[in-house]
């Protein structure tokens, strides 16, 4: 699934990384505990989370995740956006809640990694 399809499915607004919207993602992970994310290894994933601190971007970077969706319309501050830009990670915010956002992506064929 291309990142731009995720933008449509989740009615999301792009915060940064528009130049990467044609990149393909193969799996998704929804979590607010970053250690749970770190226990999950899968290439080319999208991370859905309700947290907006810099550690979310650092965690995604360590995991080679290329896209982060902030649910419930949350928006991180400038420092977090700059960090994501440096690392080439797409950030977007969706008005949907975590459960619904994950459900919609699953319905469209995206799966969790192993």
């Amino acid at each position: 699934m291309k990142i731009r399809e995720i933008v449509d499915i989740l009615e999301a607004e792009i915060i940064c990384g528009e130049e990467h919207l044609d990149n393909e993602l193969h799996s998704a992970c929804g979590a607010d505990m970053m250690s749970d994310v770190l226990a999950f290894v899968k290439d080319q994933s999208v991370l859905l989370t309700g947290l907006i601190n810099p550690q979310v971007v650092r965690t995604a970077d360590m995991m080679d995740m290329r896209c982060i969706v902030f649910v419930r319309g949350k928006c991180p501050d400038e420092q977090v956006v700059e960090l994501a830009q440096e690392r080439g990670i797409v950030l977007m915010k969706s008005p949907l809640r975590m459960f619904v956002a994950c459900g919609k992506l699953y319905e469209k064929g995206l799966r969790g990694g192993c």
């Binding site: 505990m33 250690s35 226990a39 947290l51 601190n53 810099p54 550690q55 970077d61 360590m62 690392r87």
Partner: protein, 140 residues
């Protein structure tokens, strides 16, 4: 034969900067040209250990030695020490404070994750003196 060595000072007072050292090493390993899977395993283990240093030990020093065969990392802190290592290694056991949990850490997965992603892991700890965690990831 050592390809490179690195030293990182980890500040203990700023959680938002935790992970800078891990990010920096990750970029260096990419430049050297290690396999992405090896780089990711090193990065995750180092990130968890770096976060631990900030949460539990007011920072510390990280030394890295990179050779073609393996990446060795030592995390040295002057924190309170770990009273029961077996307990600390259990998934879900955590002594992290609530403010850290609200940032997405303190799930009790740090040390188990480090063990999971490394080929060697050794913890030397003394109560009131500090802790040294050694990890090694084989490049082959």
């Amino acid at each position: 034969m050592s390809l490179a060595t690195y030293r990182f000072e980890v500040p203990g007072d700023d959680f938002t900067r935790a992970g800078e050292a891990s990010g920096s090493l990750k970029r260096s390993l990419k430049k050297i040209g290690f396999d992405p899977d090896i780089i990711r395993r090193v990065s995750i283990a180092m990130y968890e250990a770096e976060i631990n240093m900030v949460i539990h030990a007011n920072g510390g020093v990280i030394d890295v030695e990179v050779s073609p065969q393996k990446i060795d990392i030592w995390f040295r802190d002057k924190g309170p020490g770990i009273p029961d290592i077996d307990l600390a290694m259990q998934e879900g056991y955590s002594t992290a404070p609530d403010n850290v949990r609200s940032l997405g850490f303190g799930a009790g997965m740090g040390l188990p994750n480090i063990k999971k992603y490394t080929d060697e892991m050794k913890i030397d700890t003394e109560i009131g003196v500090g802790t040294t965690v050694y990890i090694s990831v084989y490049a082959k």
